[in-house]
Amino acid sequence: MRREDPLARCDGGEFEDYWSLTRYEDIITYNRNFELLSSSRGIRLEDQSYEEYLARRTFQETDPPEHTHMRMLVGKAFSRRVITEYEKTIRELCDEILDQSLPLGEFDAVKEIARQLPMRMLGQIIGVPDDDLDWLVTKGDELIAASDPEYASPLAMDDDSDEYRLLPFRSPAGAELYDYAKRLIKDKAGRNEQSGVLELITRPNAQGEVISDTEFRNFFCLVVAAGNDTTRYALSASLHALANKPELLKQLQQADGDLWDTATEEMIRWASPTMHFRRTAMRDFELHGKNVREGDKVLFWFVSGNRDETQFDNPFEIDLTRKPNRHMAFGQGGPHVCLGMWLARLEVRLLLQALVGRVKSIRQAGKHEFLRSNFVGGIKRLPLFVELNSS
């Protein structure tokens, strides 16, 4: 499809048909053109009415300058400089998680490792009690993975989800998270408490602007949902790779700082957890001999761009030394580039560093399973055998 029909008209099933943009170069060119391809009518392939869009949107569903304004408010809390200060905390969390999981010998690495780190880090970011984290992450999964029966009921696409259509991600979990966020703001205000990265975003920025309660609530849902499962699936793809290619484990066990830089990027390219984001054409345009009409849905398939052989040599191979590696797993090239990318990179790097230092071998102990989704892709179950260093 990427080679022969790079802007393909696709059958949307019960939803409107849509265009699939699959080449690296095209995605880079069009991702920044938000005036032509807007985020403001939805960012997933499912259709939504204007009423639904208004009720459910976060700043992901806005374009500059509105989007930039929100980015100015929340950006600093997730900037590279601020995130780097979390290195020690993340290292401690990694040690804690591996102390608990690795001695089991045989376990589901998604449940015991990949799900754990982003979840516990979420506690640090939003400053909530550890006891609430499992519940929050479960709700986040219900939002994002609403098409996988394991994670959500009712399904986003079923008729009985109609009563939830005005909620974030068309899921009842959205309402529960809204309520939780509301309580959180109230409790924190009551106790005058200062904790977590989210605290930073409730402070006025250099221009004296403050985030509104609605903006905070929407942002909270976004952090709980979007920031969590994606890092999880980047980790589970990395663990799957190490379990099936022992030479990669060996290479990482002898790695220096430069290799860790490139290896982290390559694992994230390989994983590409967010498979697509959708835009909507704001006017007619022509590309590759096709006529896209105003109102048509156009999907950027980042997962395809990351396998484009015109951009990456041997794209289906994991090359931990790959450089340059200008992948688009974080939606690079446009205004919506992942806010949490520095945190995700640091979590992947530190978890893998801690892991390879402890193990002699890793291999798969049973069949792995993928999440059912056309939006976020990843391994949701990964049985592993782990042999620890004898020391």
Partner: protein, 106 residues
């Protein structure tokens, strides 16, 4: 066209002839200048194209607007008074000879 030079902290330089109208983040990534990533494609979302403009060039590279000013708070290496996001500097004949210092984290 304008000749643009990027100077790294160890003294190495990369120079390139840049076409008018191209922003200097795109010019830097096209010439593989390290530490200039331009993750958001020049949409003022990421602050990964930070440069220090040589003082004698500051007037010619223009003013920092409010959005760029806010985004400069998010750079990896802390901003200085000659900090710019290079995606906001557009190549033109007046910038021929421009020198940019590339911030590098310790």
């Amino acid at each position: 066209m304008a000749k643009i030079t990027w100077k790294m902290q160890d003294g190495t330089v990369i120079s390139a002839e840049v076409k008018d109208g191209l922003n200097l983040m795109e010019a830097a990534t096209a010439n593989n200048v390290s530490h200039i990533m331009g993750e958001c494609g020049g949409c003022l979302s990421c602050a990964t194209c930070h440069v220090f403009v040589a003082h004698e060039w500051l007037a010619k590279t223009g003013e920092v607007d409010d959005i760029e000013d806010a985004m400069l708070e998010m750079t990896e290496v802390e901003r200085e008074e000659n900090s710019r996001l290079s995606c906001q500097i557009i190549a033109s004949p007046e910038l021929d000879g421009l020198l940019l210092h590339v911030p590098e984290p310790e």
